[in-house]
Amino acid sequence: MDIESARLIAMALAAGLGVIGPGIGIGIIGGGAMQAIGRNPEASGKIVSNMILAIVFTEALAILALVVAFIIRFV
């Protein structure tokens, strides 16, 4: 297997596997936020802004995986 094919496969694996975890994490965060809003609709403003903060943290890990994929392919 030459290096170019290996790079392509590596990029796909890095990006694909790397976003599984954060994807599940964001789903859990969203689900928790929905439940909290269901219990207490008045606090939805606070809940939503905290949810966005938590989502941003987990998304950063997904972005990290994506950047690694780009580096593998294009550098």
Partner: protein, 259 residues
């Protein structure tokens, strides 16, 4: 920076694909200092922001015009949010310029990338302008500024030994390990701040280039709309996270239960 090219130079290799470069291309070189296309874009953003501020100063009146009312609403909203988070009006006023500047700079830089011409006008076969945040230098510089502000604020508010005592503590083995992990995560903020913004904007650019390559006039539209939204959210997040970490840094060691 991400250019779809249908056929290149006579098609000897028949190469069709997207030209993606991770590193910002150098346009000019002045006495060894490279001027890249994202640097030009950053300067353009600065000119727009500073120009707006200077022009706006002249029109400030007691009875506000619509523009002044809008700007006041934005500033007041952010200042109130900061005062609520930091629990001190004085501290909120002290950090307001930094947080607001970070937000405005990142927001305008992100949204300016959708002006027609950015990424498509070529200078010597290389795009003349490129989204500022698609260059790791820009995001890393902002991350370093945030990091230094957070650490210096912590030291200034608590004193060096008390602040260091939050991270290097010998009260118990568990506290010690947790402290070391917190210290590493503090330094890790440099990476996470810079890569979060860089990754979001750069990946957005690549996604739009791929969309243009496949269905040039229809597919990019919802993607670009989404990227406009992402640009706003990332600006908000950068400023908000700096604010939150400043708040965590100035907190007393015994008062914190969770982070």
């Amino acid at each position: 920076m991400a250019i779809p090219e249908a056929a290149v130079e006579g098609g000897a290799a028949g190469h069709a694909g997207i030209h993606v470069v991770l590193k910002a291309e150098e346009i000019w070189n002045i006495a060894g200092f490279p001027i890249t296309n994202s640097l030009l874009m950053t300067w353009l953003t600065m000119i727009i922001l500073i120009g707006f501020a200077l022009l706006f100063r002249r029109q400030i009146a007691m009875v506000p015009s619509k523009l002044q009312a809008g700007v006041e609403m934005l500033f007041e909203g952010v200042l109130n949010y900061m005062a609520e988070t930091l629990e001190s009006e004085k501290l909120a006023r002290r950090f307001f310029p930094l947080i607001m500047t970070i937000f405005l700079l990142v927001f305008v830089a992100n949204e300016l990338a959708f002006v027609p011409g950015v990424g498509s006008l070529l200078y010597d076969h290389v795009p003349f302008l490129r989204a500022s945040a698609a260059d790791l230098n820009f995001t890393l510089a902002l991350a370093i500024i945030s990091f230094l502000t957070i650490e210096i604020t912590g030291v200034a508010a608590l004193g060096f030994f008390k602040y260091a005592g939050k991270y290097v503590t010998f009260k118990s083995p568990v506290d010690f390990v947790v402290g070391i992990i917190e210290l590493l995560s503090n330094v890790g903020r440099l990476i996470s701040f810079s890569f979060r913004l860089f990754g979001n904007i750069f990946a957005g650019e690549v996604m739009i280039a791929v969309a243009i390559f496949f269905a040039a006039y229809l597919l990019p539209v919802p993607l670009m709309a989404f990227e406009v939204f992402v640009g706003f959210i990332q600006a908000v997040v950068f400023a908000m996270l700096t604010l939150f970490f400043i708040k965590i840094a100035i907190m007393e060691p015994h008062g914190e239960e969770a982070h």
